[in-house]
């Protein structure tokens, strides 16, 4: 049908993609972001908003399992593609676009998923009712028959237990939620998993893990990596424009345009350091004094609050571009320290603190492997 074809054509002007970076495939993820921007594709924050899942690198078994689960959450029309080197990115995105455009295959996929879901629920003896499907009538009513079947166990509707509770800092009894952050999460270090226990949006407990991939090369262009980390922190501070600017500097560095990169970065770093709103919003978040930093085995540049560390990151990138020493401290130790660093913070602050420390998950996973 002509109308439908035109609709598909229009929809393909702006696919949204969710990116998964495997530790060690930094360069591939960066190339994916650049290729997406060139095509007018947009990044997605969650599977519900995504048409495409791009896996950058080859995940290990644990990470692969997580990625499979996320793939199942894409609403469809969907495409999952992988790139294990920057050169493969263009082909992977082309393939994704072609698969999204294949209306018949997408319809088959959607039908198979509905069937599988129905079979699944039949296996569970109709448990779970249809309350998710909210409106048997409007959905055509084909599967709305078990609406009133309230066979759920009192304590675990749809097979998921109700939230338990625990004492909070004021001595009140409060419900707790287990909310893991990572590995599939926007603006998040590759492979990092921070399992948080929340009361409201405050982290009362956390533990950390890194899901690694197969063998991989470390990233080499230091100034570009630092810029990428700073851009991530800026994005989390809700300043997308500044983040995009710093990311452009990253790309200039990777392309070897060092002079232009230096000029742009000088201007951007000054703009970031000058912004009063940014300072007001990040001041005193995750403050560390030198003694605490040393106790955690963190480098000297980890001292201060989120704003200090962000400015320092940009400063390091400038040093690197100017040919001065930009030896960043070893950022793998910070991974182990994260549970303590984020304790008692709310989620937005947790994300900013993690980004401002720019943890080196690849280094941490290697160390772990060497220890084992």
């Amino acid at each position: 049908m002509d109308l439908r074809q035109r609709l598909v054509h229009l929809a393909l002007r702006r696919p949204h993609a969710l990116l998964v970076e495997v530790p060690g495939w930094w360069r591939t993820r960066v190339e994916t972001e650049r290729a997406m921007a060139r095509r007018g594709w947009r990044p997605a924050s969650s599977p519900a908003g995504a048409d495409v899942l791009v896996v950058c690198g080859s995940p290990g078994a644990d990470l692969g399992e997580v990625v499979d689960r996320v793939t199942d959450q894409l609403p469809g029309p969907r495409a999952r593609v992988a790139a294990t080197a920057p050169e493969e990115v263009a082909t992977a995105l082309d393939e994704a676009a072609a698969r999204l455009a294949d209306e018949r295959a997408q319809r088959d996929d959607a039908r198979d998923r509905t069937r599988a879901d129905r079979a699944d629920r039949a296996d569970q003896g109709g448990d779970g009712g249809d309350d998710g499907g909210d409106d048997g009538g409007e959905d055509g009513g084909e599967d709305g028959g078990d609406d009133e079947d309230d066979g759920d166990s009192e304590m675990a509707p749809e097979g998921i237990p109700l939230a338990g509770s625990g004492p909070d800092r004021d001595g009140l009894e409060m419900d707790v939620l287990n909310v893991p952050l990572g590995p599939v999460l926007e603006h998040w270090p590759a492979g990092l998993v921070l399992r948080c226990v929340l009361q409201g949006d405050v982290v009362v407990e956390a533990d950390v893990d890194v899901l690694a991939g197969g063998a991989a090369a470390s990233p080499s262009a230091t100034a570009a990596v630092t810029c990428d980390g700073a851009a991530r922190a800026l994005d989390l501070a809700g300043w997308g424009d500044a983040a995009a600017g710093v990311r452009r500097v990253r790309d200039l560095v990777l392309d070897g345009h060092h002079d232009q990169a230096r000029r742009d970065l000088d201007r951007l770093a000054a703009r970031v350091a000058r912004s009063r709103v940014l300072r007001w919003s990040l001041r005193d978040l995750g403050r560390l004094d030198p003694a605490q930093a040393r106790a955690h085995g963190l480098p000297d540049d980890a001292v201060g609050d989120v704003h200090d560390r962000l400015v320092a990151m940009l400063e390091r990138a400038r040093d690197g571009l100017a040919g001065r020493s930009d030896a960043a401290g070893d950022r793998s130790a910070v991974v182990e320290a994260l549970p303590t660093l984020v304790h008692g913070l709310e989620l937005a602050a947790v994300r900013l603190v993690v980004a401002s420390h720019d943890p080196d998950t690849l280094g941490a996973s290697r160390q772990e492997r060497a220890d084992a």
Binding site: R4, L7, A110, T114, E138, I160, N178, A349
Partner: protein, 116 residues
């Protein structure tokens, strides 16, 4: 009643727009059957239902808001009569607001407006 006819007709337009979004969707989508999916938790299955007693740490601010918001209702009738009543209306209202704001400052000093 007539002016509210306009409001009602805009409400109907809004519902019509929402209805047509749904109708067009059903015509062009790959499947009208919604996908059943667990909530997104960075790729992990949920270990409990999220709907729970949420610890809203800013609850003192809600009480403050309620107090000030009720007062706010007086502002509208007051705004209409200020020109007629004159200076005394302004003095009375701002004395009242001043007293209320002292309470806000007190609550602020007690830390009711900080929640970390």
């Amino acid at each position: 009643m007539t002016p509210y006819l306009g409001v009602l007709s805009l409400l109907l337009v809004a519902l019509a727009v929402i209805g047509s979004v749904w109708a067009v969707h059903r015509l062009v989508t790959v499947t009208a059957q919604p996908l059943r999916s667990p909530p997104f938790l960075s790729g992990w299955p949920p270990s409990e239902h999220a709907l729970s007693r949420f610890h809203a740490r800013w609850y003192p601010a809600t009480l403050l808001f309620l107090a000030f918001d009720v007062e706010m209702l007086f502002m509208y009738p007051w705004a209409v009569v200020v020109a007629r009543v004159g200076l005394s209306a302004v003095v009375e209202m701002f004395l009242f607001l001043g007293v209320l704001f002292v309470a806000v400052v007190w609550a602020w000093r007690e830390g009711a407006l900080r929640w970390t």
